[in-house]
Symmetry: C2
């Protein structure tokens, strides 16, 4: 029941872009260095974010990535679901899926539904802007 590195790194990556957004593209190398994450691994992750239109890429020297929209328009849920897949705790309560094959009156499904809603109610209401604000306020070690 853990979020994988893919989702966690994606969030930190997007947060890094949000915090350092100046209109100029930001090199992935720099993000990787600041966040202590393998550059090659980050490439794979940002590729997903890029294809989904979450970031815009600029190739060549002075290239890099910039957020496609304002930080307030990304929720943590959007980023996590994109990179991580569904956040539902069990398959049978995933969006788009029908009712569980096993039983109609499956009581545990009600529990899973509630857990799913609880998770969603958090991640769908926290935006990159919120994360950036939290980072800035507790910014002991925030260096530009």
């Amino acid at each position: 029941m853990k979020i994988s590195t893919k989702g966690r790194y994606a969030l930190r990556l997007m947060l890094d872009l949000a915090l350092r957004d100046s209109g100029e593209p930001i090199r992935l190398k720099d993000v990787a260095h600041r966040q202590g994450i393998s550059e090659k691994y980050l490439e794979q992750i940002i590729s997903v974010l890029n294809k989904a239109g979450f970031v815009r890429s600029v190739r060549g020297p002075q290239g890099g990535y910039v957020l496609a929209r304002a930080p307030g328009e990304y929720t943590a849920g959007m980023i996590l679901r994109l990179t991580e897949g569904s956040l539902a705790p069990v398959e049978c309560v995933e969006r788009g899926k029908g009712v569980c094959d096993r039983e109609n009156g499956c009581a545990t499904q009600i529990l899973w539904k509630r857990v799913d809603e609880a998770i969603s109610s958090v991640v769908d209401h926290v935006t990159l802007e919120d994360l950036a604000a939290w980072q800035m306020s507790g910014a002991d070690d925030y260096v530009i």
Copy 2:
């Protein structure tokens, strides 16, 4: 970000025992058959529940398992944490762990903390008694 079969099966197992509790031991074979789960696999799971004192076992013919306490005294969280391990979405917000090594002002940690609390607030307030009641009320296919 999924609950594994171990936790899900444990919950269904305990719910099965709660629903059929008559004081007499219930054979694991029957539970396995009703729930459509491998008997051998269930053995491993109930072994954990047994060692933790959640169920009481009786060996030999007419043997089986019974709940050690009333259904209202088990929360889903107790059962899931025992079989599944921590339910925290990331390591750094797990109970007993110190603050994340990486950074002091890690904004994402606040998010994870909120997700963790959201999950806990559900699973720690739903008891086996609740699950049993839900099962009985929507009891389309509940057969004794």
